[in-house]
C-alpha cells in the first residue's frame, strides 16, 4: 500500500508541474509565480517548504533516541520565524523583485553585492539540499525495497522535473499540498499516540500489524572464574571482549562479551537447519559456516542426537549493587572482511534482520501497567516522571582483531525525568573526571546551535524567495503569520510523535530518521503508507524550493554579472531550468555521499551557514545607515568561508575523514558562535574603513 501511495503522490506532483508549465514561461512566472499567490496559500506553502525532512523525520527520531534534546531543534526552528516576521518579511518584499540579492543590492546597485549574495544563496542551498537528499534515500529504501542511492536518484529526478517544468508556480502548489497534508496527518498521529497512552505491557507484535511476535531479551547469571567468565547458557564459552573506556576517567563504561553458545535447531524442508535466534528464524545450510564462505562464525553440532547451531553473539555486562554479575543479550550486525554480513550471529536475510527497539519498562505506580488514553499534558507529565523508565536505543561500533566491523545495539534504561530535560545529546552538565574545558566546549556547542537556529531561519534562501510570490508587503506579513501558526502547531506535534515513537518500541536501531514512519506502522499499514508518502512529498517540497532559489541565484544574480551584460528574459528562464537540472544532480551526489548522518544535525549546519553569510548583511543594510557596499560584500564572503571552513575542520567531519575527532582544529561542531559575530564584525569594520570612499546611497 505504501508503494501505491508513493506512486500516487509522484503522479500528482508531476501533474501539477505539467499543469503550471504554461504559467512559468515568463521571467515573472518562472521565478515568482507572477507575484500573484494568495497570502493564505503562500503561508501554508511557507510551512510546506520549511517543514523539511529535518523537521518531520529528523526531530521525531532525535526525540525518540535522545529525548528532550531533539525538541530543542523544534524550539529553535520556530523561534527563528520571529526574526523573519518582525524584521525581515515586509522590508524584503518592499526592496526586492525576484531574489534576496536584489533586495540587498537595491541601495548600492553594485555587481559585487549581487555576485556575493548569489554565491551565498548557492552555497546555503547546497548545504540544505544534502540532508533532504539523505532523508529521501532513508525513506525510499525500506518503502520500495531499493538501495539508498536509488531513493536519492528518484527523488532528485522528480524534483528536477517539478522545478525545471513548472518553476515557482508548481513549487508553490507542491509546498502548499505538502504543508496541508503534514499538519493534518501529524495531528492524526498525535491523537493516535494520545489514545494509546503509555504502557509497560509489551505490544503483541512489532513491525506493524503483520509483524512478528515481540521478543524478551535474555538476562543470565555470569561469574568470573580464574581464567574466564562463566556464563549460565547451554554450551557457552566466552571467546571475545570489547570495552568502551571513558576518556576522562579511564574507567570502562561499557563491557561487552562475545559468547559462543548452542541453540536448538530443527531440520528444514531443504535439508538445512533453522533455529530461533532472538525471535527470528534464520536458515543455516547443512554444512557448517566454513563451507558457505562465512568463516567459522556458526557450526551445526549434534548433541544427544539432537541438532544444535553454535553461534557467537555479543552480551552486555551488568554489575549489580551486591557485586554479582549478569549478562544482558544485545543485537548486533557484523561485516566480515569479505563483505559478508551477519546479524546476531546468523547470515543476514529476509528472515534475519535487526529487531526494532525502544519501549517503556516502568511508569508511575498509580497507573499500573498502562495509562490508557491520556490528555496532551498528562502524557508529557507521565513521561517526565522520575519513576518512568525509557528503554533508549544505544549503539557502539568497533573492529575486532579478526577485522570484522561490529555494531552492537542495546537498550539503555533512562529515567523519564532525565529523558525529558536537556542533556542526553548535548552533555551540558560536567561529567565525572571531565576537564572544565570540555564542559565549556560542550556548552559553547549548544549555544552555537541555538544561535544558528534562531538567526538562520530568516536568512534561508528558499524562505526569502517566497516573499516575492505575494503581491504586497502586507500579504508577505500575513503569510508569515500563517506560517508561524502552522509551523508552531506542527512542532508541538513533533514532541508527541517523538515520545510516541519510543513508547511504541518501533524504533529502527540503525537509523533514527525512520522513527515517524515506524510509529505510524505500529498503528497499521494505512497510516504507515500515508505518513511515508507525506514524508516523500516533504522532501519534494523542500528540495524544489531550494533548487528554485539556487536556480534564481545563478540565472538572475550570477549570470548577468559574470557576463557583464543584460540577459534576455527568455535566456534567464532557460538558464534557470538548466541550473535546476545541474543543482539537482549535485544534490543527488551529495545525498549519496552523506548517507547515515541524522538529517536534523546536518540542517543545523545549513542554518549556521545561512545565518553567517546572509543575516548580518540583511539586518545591517536595513537598520544601519553606515553600511557600505564593500562591507556587505566582505561580510557575506567572510560569513560563507568562516562557517563552511569551521564545519570542514569540526570533530564530526574529522571523524568522517577517518581521523581522531579529538584532534580536530575546531573543537566544536557548530560554527555559528564564531562565524555569525565574525560576519557582523567584518561588516562594521569594513564599512567604517570604506565609508568616506563610498558614494551616497541611491535611495534609503
Amino acid at each position: 500500500m505504501a508503494i501505491v501511495v508513493f506512486i500516487m503522490f509522484v503522479i500528482l506532483v508531476l501533474a501539477v508541474s505539467v499543469h503550471t508549465n504554461r504559467r512559468s514561461r515568463s521571467v515573472d512566472g518562472y521565478y515568482v509565480a507572477n507575484s500573484s499567490v494568495h497570502w493564505g496559500v503562500n503561508g501554508v506553502a511557507f510551512a510546506g517548504g520549511y517543514l523539511s525532512v529535518a523537521s518531520f523525520l529528523g526531530i521525531c527520531g532525535l526525540i525518540a533516541f535522545f529525548g528532550y534534546d531533539g525538541f530543542l531543534y523544534s524550539i529553535g526552528f520556530l523561534a527563528g520565524w520571529i526574526v523573519a516576521l518582525f524584521v525581515i518579511a515586509e522590508p524584503m518584499k518592499r526592496r526586492g523583485t525576484f531574489t534576496f540579492p536584489d533586495a540587498l543590492n537595491r541601495t548600492f546597485k553594485r555587481p559585487g553585492i549581487q555576485l556575493a549574495a548569489g554565491l551565498s544563496v548557492l552555497v546555503v542551498s547546497l548545504f540544505y539540499l544534502v540532508p533532504q537528499m539523505v532523508g529521501a534515500g532513508v525513506l525510499v529504501e525500506p518503502l520500495l525495497g531499493i538501495p539508498h542511492y536509488w531513493g536519492v536518484i528518484i527523488v532528485g529526478s522528480v524534483v528536477i522535473l517539478i522545478v525545471a517544468g513548472g518553476g515557482m508556480t508548481s513549487t508553490t502548489y507542491v509546498q502548499f499540498f505538502n504543508g496541508g497534508l503534514l499538519l493534518l496527518f501529524a495531528g492524526i498521529l498525535t491523537v493516535a499516540v494520545l489514545l494509546r497512552g503509555v504502557n509497560t505491557a509489551e505490544l503483541s507484535v512489532e513491525e506493524g500489524v503483520a509483524g512478528l511476535e515481540r521478543y524478551r531479551y535474555q538476562e543470565v547469571a555470569a561469574e568470573f572464574g580464574e581464567e574466564n567468565l562463566r556464563v549460565d547458557l547451554p554450551g557457552a564459552e566466552v571467546v571475545g571482549r570489547h570495552a568502551v573506556v571513558d576518556r576522562h576517567t579511564g574507567a570502562e563504561s561499557l563491557v561487552l562479551y562475545r559468547v559462543s553458545r548452542l541453540i536448538p535447531a530443527s531440520v528444514d524442508a531443504g535439508g538445512g537447519y533453522t533455529a530461533n535466534i532472538k525471535g527470528r528464524t534464520p536458515n543455516f545450510s547443512a554444512a557448517d559456516g566454513t563451507s558457505s564462505g562465512l568463516g567459522v562464525h556458526w557450526t551445526v553440532e549434534q548433541v544427544d542426537g539432537q541438532p544444535y547451531v553454535r553461534i557467537e553473539d555479543w552480551w552486555r555486562l551488568n554489575t549489580n549493587a551486591d557485586g554479582t554479575h549478569r549478562l544482558v543479550e544485545t543485537q548486533f550486525r557484523a561485516v566480515l572482511p569479505d563483505g559478508t554480513v551477519l546479524v546476531n550471529g546468523a547470515p543476514e536475510g529476509a528472515s534475519n534482520r535487526l529487531r526494532q527497539m525502544g519501549g517503556i519498562s516502568e511508569i508511575p505506580e498509580a497507573y499500573g501497567e498502562s495509562t490508557g488514553p491520556v490528555d496532551p499534558l498528562r502524557l508529557l507529565s507521565v513521561f517526565a516522571d522520575r519513576s518512568t523508565v525509557v528503554e533508549r536505543p544505544r549503539s557502539v561500533a568497533f573492529n575486532t582483531e579478526a577485522g570484522e566491523r561490529v555494531t552492537v545495539h542495546y537498550a539503555e534504561p533512562v529515567a523519564g525525568s532525565v529523558f525529558m530535560r536537556p542533556g542526553l545529546m548535548f552533555p551540558l552538565e560536567p561529567q565525572a573526571g571531565e576537564p572544565s574545558i570540555t564542559t565549556l566546549l560542550n556548552r559553547l556547542n549548544f549555544i552555537s546551535l541555538m544561535l544558528a537556529l534562531f538567526l538562520g531561519t530568516s536568512a534561508l534562501p528558499h524562505i526569502l524567495i517566497r516573499y516575492y510570490t505575494v503581491p504586497s508587503a502586507d500579504a508577505a506579513r500575513k503569510s508569515t503569520i500563517v506560517a508561524i501558526a502552522g509551523i508552531g502547531l506542527f512542532y508541538i506535534f513533533t514532541m508527541y510523535l517523538g515520545v510516541g515513537a519510543v513508547t511504541s518500541g518501533a524504533l529502527n536501531p540503525e537509523t533514527s530518521n525512520m522513527s515517524a514512519p515506524l510509529l505510524a506502522r505500529s498503528f497499521g499499514e494505512v497510516l504507515f503508507a500515508m505518513i511515508s508518502g507525506i514524508a516523500f512529498t516533504t522532501v519534494l517540497a523542500t528540495v524544489s524550493g531550494l533548487i528554485m532559489a539556487a536556480s534564481g541565484a545563478v540565472a538572475h544574480d550570477l549570470l548577468p554579472n559574470l557576463l557583464r551584460r543584460d540577459v534576455s528574459d527568455n535566456t534567464k528562464v532557460l538558464a534557470g531550468r538548466i541550473v535546476a537540472v545541474l543543482v539537482g544532480i549535485i544534490g543527488i551526489v551529495l545525498g549519496i555521499a552523506f548517507r547515515g548522518m541524522n538529517v536534523s544535525f546536518l540542517v543545523g549546519w545549513a542554518f549556521a551557514v545561512a545565518a553567517s553569510a546572509n543575516l548580518p548583511a540583511l539586518l545591517l543594510i536595513l537598520f544601519w545607515k553606515k553600511a557600505t557596499a564593500q562591507g556587505i560584500i566582505a561580510s557575506i564572503l567572510v560569513g560563507i568561508v568562516a562557517a563552511v571552513g569551521l564545519i570542514l575542520l569540526s570533530p564530526d567531519m574529522w571523524a568522517r575523514y577517518g581521523l581522531d575527532p579529538t584532534t580536530a582544529p575546531m573543537p566544536i561542531n557548530q560554527p555559528g558562535i564564531v562565524s555569525i559575530p565574525l560576519s557582523f564584525l567584518v561588516l562594521v569594520v569594513v564599512s567604517l574603513l570604506t565609508a568616506k570612499k563610498e558614494p551616497a546611497p541611491a535611495a534609503a
Binding site: D28, N34, S35, Y68, F71, L72, S74, I75, L78, A79, W81, I82, V83, L85, F86, V87, E90, P91, K93, R94, R95, G96, T97, D102, R106, L377, R378, L380, S381, A384, S417, V418, M420, R421, P422, G423, L428, E429, R443, F446, I447, M450, F454, Y468, P471, S472, A473, R477, K478, I481, I484, A485, G488, L489, Y491, I492, M495, F623, A698, A699
Partner: protein, 101 residues
C-alpha cells in the same frame, strides 16, 4: 497625496519599531531558555506548570508565545484607512521594489 505618503512612512517606521521591540523581547525569553539549559540543566527537570517539567513548559511556551506575538503584531500593523490606498499602489507586484527605488 503627499500627506498620505508621509503618513505611510510614519506608519512603516512605527511598524518597524514595534517589530524590533517584539524581537528583542522574544530574544530575551529565548535567551533565558538557553541560559537555563546550559547552566542549570537540572532545574529544567523540576515540575513547573500543569504537571509539566520546566523544560517542556518553557519549550512549549516559547512556541505558543511566538504564535501569540505574531497575532498581536498583525493586529498592531493593520493598515490605517488613510494610508491604505497609497500602500496598495506602492507595493503591487514584482515591480514594487523598483518603483520605490
Amino acid at each position: 497625496m503627499a500627506q498620505n505618503v508621509i503618513m505611510d512612512e510614519a506608519f512603516e517606521r512605527r511598524k518597524s519599531g514595534i517589530g524590533i521591540r517584539m524581537t528583542i523581547l522574544y530574544s530575551i525569553i529565548y535567551g533565558g531558555f538557553v541560559v537555563l539549559s546550559v547552566f542549570q540543566p537540572t532545574w529544567m527537570g523540576a515540575r513547573a506548570l500543569l504537571g509539566l517539567n520546566l523544560a517542556v513548559a518553557y519549550g512549549l511556551g516559547l512556541i505558543v508565545i511566538a504564535i501569540i506575538f505574531a497575532l498581536v503584531y498583525n493586529h498592531l500593523c493593520r493598515v490605517p484607512a488613510t494610508g491604505a490606498a497609497t500602500r496598495s499602489r506602492s507595493a503591487s507586484g514584482p515591480q514594487a521594489g523598483q518603483e520605490e527605488g
